[in-house]
C-alpha cells in the first residue's frame, strides 16, 4: 500500500490476459443482440440497445488482428467510458471472457517494450505481473482513437448524462 | 453217477477268486456259463464235489497233477480268441506312423530297440504279427524287442511252440505266410527269425508291474472287457506309468477309456498316447 495501487478488470482474448483500469469500466454485460451498422470497419460489429442507450460495439479480437471466433455464453461486452472531446461516451468492447477485478501496485507494472512504441502501439500502458500471469494493461481510449471509431461515436454513441 | 452240480455259494467263491486273482469280473448273468465250464473241468479232473475242486484250485499247487489242473482251469476260464493281424488297422497305424514312433522312442535312441509289449498275448498271434510287421517296416538300425505275456501257462506254451493252422478268420496274407513260416504237415511253424524277436512270459496283469525300462507301444486288446471299472482304471494307470513319453496304448475295438479316469491323450479311436 506504500505506492500507488490501482484496480484492473482483467479479461482474456484467446490465451492472453489483458487488463483495463476499472475506473474506465462502466459495466459488464453478457452478449446481447448486436445490430450491424453498414459501412463500418470490420471490427465494429454494430450497436446494442442497453436499457434504452444505443452503444457501439467493437470486437477487440478483430481490432487486434486475431482470428475471429463464434460468440458463446462466455463472451462478454465490457462497457467502457471514453472521454471524447471532453464528453464521456460509452463504448462496448467484445472480449472472450472477463476474469476478475485485481489490485496491482506500480512495482508490479513494467513499462511497455520500447520497440513497440510506434503510433500503432501506444495503447499499451504497461505489462502487469499478477500471480505468475502476465497481463497487458491497455489504454482503452487509445485503442479506439481512430478515425472510424471517432466518427461512429460522433454519430451514434450516446452521451452519458451524468 | 450223479449229475455234476456247482452250488451257488461255490459259484460265488469261484467268481470272487477270479476277480481277486485275475481281475476277471463275472456278472450274475454269466455265472451259468462259469458253472458249465467248471462242470467240464471237474469232469475232466474226475472231481465231483465243487467244494473239493474249489480247494484244489485255490490252494497252492503241491503236486504236478494239481499244477496241470490249475493251468487247465486258467486256460478254460480265460478266453483265447486271437488271430494274426486281428483288428488290422492298429498294425496299419504303426506302419503309417513308424518314423514318428522311432523319433519319440527313448530306447530307439539309446539302445536301438523298439520296445513293444503284447500284454495279453494268448497263443502268440498278436506278438508274432508285431514282430513280422517290425521286420518289414523298421529301419536296419532299430531292433524290435517284443515282450508277450499272458496269464495262461497253456497258452504261453502254445505261443512258444509257434505252430499254427490258418483258418478263414485269419487275416494273414500269403506274403507273410511264405516269408515267415515253414510248412509242417497241415500246420505252419513260425520262423526262428521272428521267434527270436519275441520273449514270452507268464504274467498276471493285476499284479504289480516289474519292468525296468519304459515301453514304446503297449497292446492290451479285448482284455479290459473282462474287467470291471476299478480294475480297468488301475491297469490303465499302470500302463501309463510303464510307457515312455509319447508312447502308444492300443485297446480293443469295442473298448474305450471314456468311462474311466486316465491320463492318456486320446489320439484316435482305440489309440491313446502318453503325454
Amino acid at each position: 500500500m506504500a505506492t500507488n495501487d490501482q484496480k484492473l478488470l482483467t479479461f482474456s482474448l484467446g490465451e492472453e490476459g489483458y487488463g483495463v483500469s476499472i475506473l474506465k469500466v462502466k459495466e459488464i454485460i453478457g452478449m446481447l443482440e448486436i445490430t450491424p451498422v453498414p459501412k463500418t470497419p470490420e471490427f465494429i460489429k454494430g450497436v446494442i440497445n442497453l436499457r434504452g442507450k444505443i452503444i457501439p460495439i467493437m470486437d477487440l479480437r478483430i481490432k487486434f488482428g486475431m482470428e475471429q471466433q463464434q460468440y458463446d455464453e462466455r463472451t462478454c461486452i465490457i462497457v467502457v467510458e471514453i472521454d471524447f472531446k471532453g464528453v464521456q461516451k460509452l463504448l462496448g468492447v467484445v472480449v472472450d471472457m472477463v476474469s476478475e477485478v485485481v489490485t496491482v501496485s506500480d512495482d508490479q507494472i513494467e513499462p511497455p517494450p520500447e520497440y513497440g512504441k510506434t503510433a500503432e502501439h501506444n495503447f499499451i500502458l504497461g505489462i502487469g505481473k499478477i500471480k505468475e500471469r502476465v497481463v497487458i494493461i491497455l489504454d482503452i481510449e487509445e485503442v479506439f482513437s481512430c478515425e472510424e471509431v471517432l466518427k461512429m461515436l460522433e454519430n451514434n454513441s450516446q452521451t452519458i448524462k451524468e | 453217477m450223479p449229475i455234476i452240480t456247482i452250488e451257488k455259494n461255490y459259484l460265488d467263491l469261484f467268481s470272487e477268486y477270479l476277480y481277486k486273482n485275475m481281475g476277471i469280473y463275472i456278472e450274475d448273468s454269466k455265472k451259468n456259463l462259469l458253472a458249465q465250464k467248471l462242470a467240464k473241468l471237474m469232469q475232466e479232473a474226475g472231481i465231483e464235489n465243487a467244494g473239493e475242486y474249489y480247494h484244489f484250485i485255490v490252494s497252492p499247487p503241491i503236486s504236478e497233477r494239481q499244477k496241470e489242473l490249475k493251468n487247465k482251469f486258467i486256460d478254460t476260464i480265460t478266453v483265447h480268441k486271437t488271430n494274426f493281424f486281428r483288428e488290422n488297422n492298429h498294425f496299419e497305424f504303426i506302419q503309417r506312423n513308424i518314423s514318428e514312433i522311432i523319433e519319440t522312442s527313448q530306447s530307439a535312441k539309446f539302445t536301438n530297440e523298439l520296445r513293444i509289449w503284447s500284454s495279453a498275448c494268448s497263443t502268440g498271434e498278436e506278438a508274432y504279427t508285431l514282430a513280422m510287421l517290425c521286420k518289414e517296416i523298421l529301419p536296419a538300425n532299430v531292433r524290435p524287442k517284443i515282450l508277450a505275456t499272458d496269464i495262461s501257462p497253456d497258452s504261453i506254451r502254445k505261443a512258444m511252440e509257434g505252430i499254427y493252422k490258418f483258418g478263414p478268420e485269419d487275416n494273414i496274407t500269403n506274403y507273410y505266410i511264405n516269408k515267415y513260416f515253414t510248412k509242417n504237415g497241415t500246420q505252419w511253424a513260425i520262423s526262428d527269425e521272428i521267434k527270436n524277436c519275441v520273449t514270452f512270459r507268464l504274467f498276471n496283469l493285476v499284479e504289480p508291474f516289474p519292468f525296468k525300462n519304459p515301453f514304446d507301444i503297449i497292446f492290451c486288446r479285448n482284455v479290459m472287457i473282462y474287467f470291471d471299472k476299478i480294475v480297468q482304471e488301475k491297469l490303465v494307470g499302470n500302463f501309463y506309468n510303464v510307457l515312455g513319453k509319447k508312447g502308444f496304448l492300443f485297446i480293443g475295438h469295442s473298448e474305450s477309456l471314456i468311462q474311466i479316469k486316465h491320463q492318456f491323450t486320446y489320439h484316435e479311436p482305440t489309440v491313446y498316447r502318453k503325454n
Binding site: K7, L9, I22, L23, V25, K26, E27, I28, G30, E73, R74, C76, V98, E100, V101 | P2, I4, S29, K30, N32, L33, Q36, A39, K40, Q43, E44, A45, R65, E68, N71, K72, D75, L147, T149, P153, D154, I156, R157, M160, E161, E169, T186, T199, F200, R201, L202, F203, P210, F211, K212, N213, M224, I225, Y226, G252, H253, S254, E255, I258, Q259
Partner: protein
C-alpha cells in the same frame, strides 16, 4: 455176410446129425458086443467103431471149418468196429476243438458287445442329461431375454433423466455465470465509489468466488452426467446386442434340444438292439459251451469203443488159438470180457447222465449239435452188437469144448439153446453194416491225429491235458527280470 451165416448154420446141423449117427452106432456096437459074442460080430463092431471114428473126425473137421468161418466174421466185424471207432474219435475230437474255438470266439464277441452296450448306455444317459441341460439353457436364455428387456427400459429411463440433469446443470452454470458478471459489476461499482466502496468490494469478491465455485461444480457435474449419458448409450447398444445373442442362443438351444432328443431316441433304440443281440449271443455262448463239452464226451466215448474193438480182436485171437490149438483158455477170457462190458455199461450210464443233453434239446436251432447226437445214437447199436456177439462167442466156445469131450447130452441141450441167439444176430449184423456207411463218409473229413488207446482196460478219466509239452514250462523257467 448173409451167405457166411447160412453156411455156419448148415455146419451146425451137420454136427448135430453126425453126432446122432455116432451115438446110434456106439449104442448098436455096445448092444451087439454084449449079446452076440462072435468074432464076426466083434469085427463088425470094430469096423463100425472105426467108421464112426472116421465119421467123427470128418465131422470135427467140418465143425472146425465152421468155427473158423465164424471167427473170420468176428475178425472182420471187430476190424470194422475198430476203424469206425477211430473215425468216431477223430470226428468227436474235431467237433470238440471246433466247438471250443467257436465258444471262445462267441464269448469274446459277447464281452465285446457288452462293452459296446455299456458305452451306448452311457451315451444314452449323457444325451438325456444334455437334453435336460439344453432345455435349462433355453429357459435361462428366455429369462435372460426378458430381464434384458427390463434392463433396456431402465437404461432408457436413466438416459432420459441424465439428459434432464444435464439441462438443469446448464441452467446452474448460466446462473453462476450471471452471478459472476454481477459480482464483477459490483466490484466495478465499489471501485468507483472509492474508499466508501471498499467493504462492498470484498462482498463482491466473495460472491464472485461462490459463483465461480458453482460454475466449477456445475461444470464437473456436467462432465459426469455427460459421461453417464454416453455410458448409458453404450449400455443400450450392448444390451441390444446381448438381447440379440440371447435370441440366437434361444434358437440354437432349441435346435440342440431337438438333435439331442433324436440322438437320445436313436441310442436308446441301439441299446435295445444291442441288448437283444447280446441275449442271443449269450444263448449261443451257452449252447456252444454245451457243444464243446458234448463233443468231447463223444470223442472219449469213441475212444472207449476203440478199446472194445481191441478186446474183440483179442477174443478172436484167443478163439483161433482154441480152435487150432485146442487148449482151455475160456476161464481167462470170459471174466475179462464180462468185466469190460460192466465197465462199459457204467460209462454209458455216466455219459447219459451228464446234464448237457437236455440243454441241447432246449436250443435245437444250433446245427452243430446234430452230428453229436447222431454219433451218440450210433454208438448204441454198436454196443448192442458187441453185447450180442459176446453170448454167441461164448456158445461157440462151449460147443467146441463139449465136442472135444464128446458129451452128447450137454451138447444137445446147448445146441438147442444156441439156435436162439443166432436168429437174433443175423438181422443185427445187417443193420450195423448199413449204419456204418454214412458214418464212414462223415468220418472221411477229419485230419486230426488220433491217439487210440490200446490198453485192454478202459480209461475213464483223462488225467493230463493232452498237449503238455514238458520241454516248455514258462511258469517254471522265466522270471520277468529282463524287461
Amino acid at each position: 455176410m448173409f451167405n457166411g451165416f447160412s453156411k455156419s448154420q448148415i455146419g451146425f446141423r451137420i454136427i448135430l446129425s453126425i453126432l446122432f449117427v455116432e451115438l446110434i452106432s456106439l449104442a448098436s456096437g455096445v448092444i451087439m458086443g454084449l449079446n452076440i459074442k462072435s468074432p464076426t460080430i466083434i469085427a463088425a463092431c470094430l469096423l463100425t467103431i472105426i467108421i464112426s471114428q472116421l465119421i467123427a473126425w470128418f465131422i470135427s473137421e467140418n465143425v472146425k471149418k465152421s468155427v473158423r468161418n465164424v471167427l473170420s466174421e468176428l475178425a472182420e466185424t471187430s476190424e470194422n468196429l475198430g476203424s469206425l471207432s477211430n473215425e468216431l474219435t477223430v470226428t468227436g475230437r474235431k467237433l470238440a476243438d471246433g466247438s471250443t474255438e467257436q465258444a471262445a470266439s462267441i464269448q469274446e464277441t459277447s464281452s465285446t458287445l457288452e462293452e459296446s452296450s455299456s458305452m451306448i448306455h452311457q451315451t444314452t444317459q449323457n444325451t438325456k442329461e444334455a437334453e435336460i441341460l439344453a432345455k435349462q439353457t433355453k429357459q435361462s436364455a428366455d429369462n435372460g431375454n426378458v430381464e434384458m428387456q427390463t434392463m433396456l427400459e431402465a437404461m432408457e429411463e436413466l438416459k432420459k433423466s441424465s439428459t434432464e440433469i444435464s439441462k438443469i446443470i446448464r441452467v446452474i452454470d448460466e446462473i453462476a455465470f450471471q452471478t459472476n458478471i454481477l459480482s464483477l459489476n459490483a466490484a466495478v461499482e465499489a471501485a468507483r465509489a472509492g474508499d466508501a466502496g471498499k467493504g462492498f468490494a470484498v462482498v463482491a469478491e466473495e460472491v464472485r468466488n461462490l459463483a465461480q465455485r458453482s460454475a466449477q461444480a456445475a461444470k464437473d457435474t456436467a462432465g459426469i452426467i455427460e459421461s453417464n449419458i454416453s455410458l448409458s448409450e453404450k449400455c443400450l447398444d450392448i444390451s441390444n446386442q446381448v438381447s440379440k445373442s440371447l435370441e440366437g442362443i434361444n434358437n440354437d438351444t432349441h435346435k440342440v434340444s431337438e438333435l439331442l432328443e433324436e440322438i437320445s431316441t436313436a441310442s436308446q433304440e441301439q441299446e435295445i438292439g444291442i441288448n437283444q443281440i447280446n441275449k442271443a449271443i449269450s444263448q449261443m455262448e451257452h449252447v456252444l459251451q454245451g457243444n464243446a463239452l458234448t463233443a468231447q464226451e463223444s470223442a472219449s466215448s469213441a475212444e472207449h469203443l476203440n478199446t472194445y474193438s481191441n478186446t474183440l480182436k483179442k477174443i478172436k485171437e484167443e478163439l483161433t488159438y482154441l480152435v487150432d490149438g485146442g487148449k482151455e483158455v475160456e476161464k481167462r477170457i470170459i471174466p475179462t470180457i464180462s468185466r469190460e462190458v460192466e465197465v462199459k455199461k457204467e460209462i454209458k450210464s455216466q455219459k447219459l447222465e451228464v446234464k448237457i443233453k437236455p440243454e441241447i434239446k432246449s436250443v435245437p436251432k444250433v446245427e452243430e449239435v446234430k452230428p453229436k447226437t447222431e454219433v451218440k445214437q450210433k454208438v448204441e447199436p454198436i454196443k448192442l452188437k458187441t453185447e450180442e456177439i459176446k453170448p454167441k462167442v461164448e456158445e461157440v466156445k462151449k460147443v467146441k469144448a463139449e465136442e472135444v469131450k464128446s458129451k452128447a447130452e450137454e451138447v444137445k441141450s446147448k445146441t438147442e439153446e444156441a439156435v436162439e441167439p443166432k436168429a437174433e444176430i443175423k438181422p443185427e449184423k445187417e443193420e450195423t453194416k448199413v449204419e456204418e456207411k454214412p458214418k464212414t463218409e462223415e468220418a472221411e473229413k477229419p485230419k486230426l491225429e488220433l491217439k487210440p488207446q490200446i490198453q485192454p482196460k478202459p480209461v475213464v478219466k483223462k488225467p493230463l491235458p493232452k498237449d503238455t509239452d514238458k520241454s516248455v514250462r514258462p511258469e517254471d523257467i522265466i522270471p520277468l527280470d529282463d524287461f
